[in-house]
Amino acid sequence: MKKIGSKLKLLTLLLLVWTKVSAQEEDLLKLIAEDKPKKELVKNAFKATRVINSQSMEFLSPGTMDFIILHRFGQISEGASNFFGLDQASMRMALDFGLRDNLMVGVGRSTYKKEVDGFIKYAPIRQSTGTNSFPATIAIAVGTTLNTLPWSDPLRQNYFTSRMAYYTQVIIGRKFSDKFSLQLSPTMVHQNLVASSSMSNDSFAAGIGGRYKVSKRIALTWDYSYLLYGVDMDLYNNPLSIGVDIETGGHVFQLHFSNSTGMNERAFLTETTGSWDKTEIRFGFNLSRMFQIKKKKETPKE
C-alpha cells in the first residue's frame, strides 16, 4: 500500500511538471480550428491581359482602367537605310476596363486600315484553389472590328457591313506554376468582305501562348497562331511573336519581335504577311498604364 502511495505521489508530481511544461511550449494557435481554405482565384498567370497580340486568360481587376499603347515598327529586313524598320511605326491605342473579376471590355483604334475594334471577354470558369477549385481558366472573347478606310472601289455598290468583321475565341489556360503559364485559344474570324476570292469569309486559327517568368518582374512570352482554314497561305503566314514582359510599378512594358503588323484579332490572324524565315519581323512594344477609376468596396466585417 505504501509503495503504491509513493508511486502515485510521483505520478502527480510528473503530471504537475508536465502541465507546466506544456503550458510553456503550447502552440496556442492549434487550439483554434483552422478554417477550410476558401476558394481563391489564381491570378497573375500573365502580367497583362494580352499575351502579346492575343487575349490572355488574365482579367483586369474590377474598377481599373488600362490605357495601352501598342507599337509595331517596320521590318528588320529593310536594313540600315530604314534603321532596321524603326523609321516606320504602326500603332493601336486602347482602353480596357475591368468590370468584374471575370468580365472586361475594351476598345481600340489602329493606324493599320484605320480600324476601330471592341471586345468583351468573359470567363465562366476561372482557375482557383481551395474548395470547389478548378484547374484551368476558360474564357470567351468576342469582338468586332470596323475598317474606316475610304472604299477601295467607290463605284461599286458598297455596304456599311462590308467594313465589319467579327471574331469569337475560347481561351483555355492554366498557370502551372509560379513561373510557367500556358493557354490555348481556338479562334474563328468572320469577315463580311475579303480582299480576294482565294480567301474564305470564315477563317479558323488555333493559338498557343505562354510565359515563363525569369525574375519577379521579368517574363519571357510567346504567342503563336496556326491558321487552320480560310486564309490563303500563299499570301499570308502564321503569326508568331516572341517577347519580354517588364513590370515596373503601375506600368507593364511588353517588348517583342513579331511577323505581324495588325494588332486586333482580324488583322493579325488573317493578314500577317511577314515571314520569320526572311527576317521579315518587326520590333514592337505594348505599354500599359493602369488606373484605379473606382474605389474598391469596403469588405464588410463578419
Partner: protein, 186 residues
C-alpha cells in the same frame, strides 16, 4: 491512498481547465502602412481576418495572419504586394509568437486599461526576427482588447523595394494591431 488519488485527479482537472484562461479571435485587424511622405498615393492595406490567441495565465500571445487577407485601395498595388513583395503564394501566412512580459501586472479579470510590453518572434516572408513593442490591454466585462503599433524594416524580412518606387514605398512599414478577444470555450 484515496486522498492522494483525489488530489491527482483534482490536479489533472485543474490542468485541463487551463483553457479558461485563453482568449481568442478570428477577425482581428492589422493595418500595414508603408507610405512615404512624398508619395501621391497611399501604400496601405488592412487585414480583417487575423487570428490571435492569448493565454492570460502565461501571457503568451500568438498571431496568425493570412497574407492574402491584406486589401489595398488600389487593385494593382494589392496585386504587386502579393506577387512581387510579400510573395503570398510562397509564404501564405505570417506568424507572431511572443509573450506579454509584464502579464503578472495585468489583472485580466478586472475591468481597466493596462500597459503591456510584448516580446517575441515575427515570421514574415520566410524570415524570422525578434520584435519588442509596447501595447495596451483593455479588459471590459470578460472581453479583452489588445492594441499595439510597431515598425518593421522591410529589409529585415527580405522584402525588396525597387529604386523606381522608393519615393512611394517607405523602407519601414508601420504595423497596427487591433484585436478584440473572447473566451476560448471548449
Amino acid at each position: 491512498m484515496e486522498k492522494i488519488l483525489l488530489v491527482a485527479i483534482a490536479l489533472f482537472l485543474g490542468a485541463s481547465t487551463n483553457a479558461q484562461d485563453k482568449y481568442f479571435t478570428k477577425n482581428g485587424t492589422i493595418t500595414f502602412d508603408a507610405t512615404t511622405s512624398t508619395s501621391p498615393e497611399k501604400v496601405a492595406a488592412v487585414n480583417k481576418s487575423v487570428t490571435c490567441v492569448l493565454d492570460t495565465k502565461t501571457g503568451n500571445a500568438q498571431f496568425s495572419v493570412l497574407m492574402k487577407g491584406f486589401e489595398f485601395e488600389q487593385a494593382l498595388m494589392q496585386e504587386h504586394f502579393h506577387e512581387n513583395y510579400l510573395e503570398s503564394e510562397k509564404f501564405p501566412r505570417s506568424l507572431f509568437k511572443g509573450q506579454i512580459i509584464n502579464s503578472s501586472k495585468i489583472n485580466f479579470t478586472k475591468n481597466g486599461s493596462y500597459d503591456a510590453t510584448v516580446k517575441g518572434h515575427l515570421t514574415m516572408h520566410g524570415q524570422t526576427r525578434d520584435v519588442e513593442t509596447n501595447g495596451k490591454v483593455s479588459v471590459n466585462d470578460g472581453k479583452i482588447a489588445i492594441a499595439a503599433k510597431f515598425a518593421v524594416l522591410l529589409k529585415d524580412y527580405a522584402i525588396e523595394v525597387p529604386r523606381l518606387v522608393s519615393d512611394k514605398v517607405a523602407e519601414s512599414a508601420i504595423i497596427k494591431v487591433d484585436c478584440s478577444l473572447q473566451l476560448l470555450g471548449n
